[in-house]
Symmetry: C2
Subunit: 336 residues, 2 copies
Amino acid sequence: MVTLEDVARHAGVSLATASRVLNGSSRQVGAAMRARVESSAAKLGYRADATAQTLARGASNVVGVVIQDLTDPYFAAIADGAIRAADTHNMVVTLGTTYRDPEREIALVATLNAQRARAVLIAGSRLADEVMLRRLRAELDVYRASGGRVAIIGQDLLGTDTVAPLNHEGARDLAHALAGRGHRRFAVLAGPPGLYTALDRASGFAAGLAELGLPAPVVVHGGFDRDGGHTAAVELLRMGTDATCVFAVNDVMATGALSAMREHGVDVPGAMSLAGFDDAASLRDVVPSMTTVRLPLARMGTLAVDLALSSDGQPRVEHIEGEVVLRDSVRTLPVS
Amino acid sequence: MVTLEDVARHAGVSLATASRVLNGSSRQVGAAMRARVESSAAKLGYRADATAQTLARGASNVVGVVIQDLTDPYFAAIADGAIRAADTHNMVVTLGTTYRDPEREIALVATLNAQRARAVLIAGSRLADEVMLRRLRAELDVYRASGGRVAIIGQDLLGTDTVAPLNHEGARDLAHALAGRGHRRFAVLAGPPGLYTALDRASGFAAGLAELGLPAPVVVHGGFDRDGGHTAAVELLRMGTDATCVFAVNDVMATGALSAMREHGVDVPGAMSLAGFDDAASLRDVVPSMTTVRLPLARMGTLAVDLALSSDGQPRVEHIEGEVVLRDSVRTLPVS
DNA sequence: CTGTTAGCGCGTTCAA
DNA sequence: TTGAACGCGCTAACAG
C-alpha cells in the first residue's frame, strides 16, 4: 500500500507539499517540485486513500442510492440517472437494494450514514404504514443531524428535497385520454392497498372518470410487480367484467397483465384495451405497443442527486409531470 | 456528528470500552457497562464512522462493481446478484458504470482503489484491444499490489478470479439444437468485431454448424445492444438472405431484431426463426417467446463476489455452462 | 474486565 | 513557496 508519505519521501519533499500537488489544493507549488512529486506518484502507483481524505476533510465523495429492486427497469433507469449525476460531481454511488422491505430501507440509511455519504437518495413509494414511516423519518433525522442531505423520489412525506411525480394528475389525464378513445367502462389493476404510488394512480384515474360522469372502475389489488399484474389480470378475467379497458398502475404490471390476457385468449386491444404507467424502456419492444404515462425516469434520478447535493436549507419539491402516450394497446371504440 | 468519544463520555466509560461494545469485538465487556454504552449510543444517535474504521482496521467494507450499462437487464441481473452477495458478507456495493468505454473502466478501477474497496468485480466483455487490455491489467496490478481482490465476469484474460460463461460451447449447442429443428441455413447478428463475448458466441455457433457439415452462416456485425440488433436485422433483410433462422448473439439484440422483422412484415417464426443468448429476464414477456441459451446471471454476480472475497492466492476460474432453451421463436422445419 | 495510548493516511493550520 | 505538527474517528496493542 503506497501512502502519500512514501511519495513524499521518494520525491524528497514534505508530506504537505506532496498533498498539495496531488490534490487540487488551491495552494501553489513550484513547478520543479510539482513534477518530481507527480513522477514519484506515478512511479510508485500512488492512489490517494479516499477514506483517509474523508476523515481529514470531514466530507466524503459518496452518494447513497436506495432503490427497491435493481432488476425492475423503473429503478434501473432512476439509478442510472443518479449515477450519471454523481459522476458529474466526481462522486461515487453506493447502491442499496431493499427488495421492498421497509425494514431494509431503514437499515440502509443507517449504513449509508456510517459510510458518511454526502447525500442519500431514496427511490420508491412509501407504504401507508405510520410506524415504518416514523422510524424511517427518525433514521433520516439522525443522518441529517450529522450533515447528510436527503432526497426522495416519490411522495413528499418526509420533509426533504423531493422529486415528486404527479401520479394523480397523470392517471387522471390518462383516464380522459382513454375516454376520448370511446371507452366507458374500466378496470384498474391497482397494486397493493397500502402503497402511495399505487393509491395515487388508482385514485387519480377514478377521479378522472368521475369528472366525466363515467362509472367508477372495477378495482383489483395485487403486487406492484410483473407477477402482481399477471395475477390481478387473471383474477379480473375470472371474475368476469364488462370493462373495455384495463389500467395497470405501472408498466411492469401492465406487461404481466398483457401476458395473462394472451394466455387466456383475450386479444389486446381487440377484446380488451390496456394501459400502464411510467413508460419504462422495457416496454419498447412489447407488442402491441403499450399506452402509458411517460415519466422521465433517468432525469428524475439525476435531478434528485443534484437537488440533494446542492441542498442548502429549505427542502425543495420538484413536481414531475407525466405525459400520456397513446399507443396500439388501446383501441378506439366506435361511438355507440 | 456524534463520535464514539461522545458516547464514551456520556456513558462514563473509556473510548476503548465503548468501541468494544459497539463493534463486535471479541473482547468481553461487563453487562452493566455494556448496557450503559448501548443506551448512550442509542440516545445520542451514534452511527459508527465506517471511513474511520476502515482507516483504523486497514480494511474497508465496500465491494466495487463495474458494469457497462445498468439499464441493460444482463448487467442489472449480475449487479443484483453481486449486491446480494455483498450483503451476505455485510458489505456495501459501490457501483460504477462504464457506458462501454474501456477508458472509464480503467478510471473506475482507480477510483475503487482509492475507495479502498476490498474487492472489485468487473462484468462485461473485454475488447480485443491490446493497448486497453494492458492498461487495464496495469491498473488492476496496482490495485492488487495494495491488497485488493479482483474478479472478472467474462473472458479469463487477466489472470484473476474469473467467472467465465462458456459462450463458445453454448452457441455451439444452440447450433446443434437449431439444426435439430430442421434448419440448415443460418444468419448471425454477430455484434461488434472486437468484442470477445460476441466473437466467442459467433464462432461457437459457426463451429457447431461446421461439425454438422452445414454451410457457414451469413454474418452481420453491429452494436451489442438492442439497437444494434435492430440495425443488423434490417441490414440482413435488405441484403436478402435464404437463411431460415437468425442467431443474435445476445437477447437484447434478438429483441431488437424481432422488432425489426415485425416492422418489415417478416413473421417470426413463420417466415424466420430467431434465437438469442443469455435468457435475460426481460425476455419473459416477449412474443413469440424467445429461444435462447440461459445463463444464471444473478448467480454469476454472486459467485464472482464470493470468489473475490474468499480469494487466497491462486486465481480460480469458474466456468458457467449455458443451457439451450427452445421456445416459440424457432419453428420446426419439415424434413426436406 | 477496563483504561491509556499509539497510530491508520491525509488535510490544514501555523511558522519559517 | 515549503515544512512541521496536530487532528479527523476509530482500532488494537499494551498495561493495569
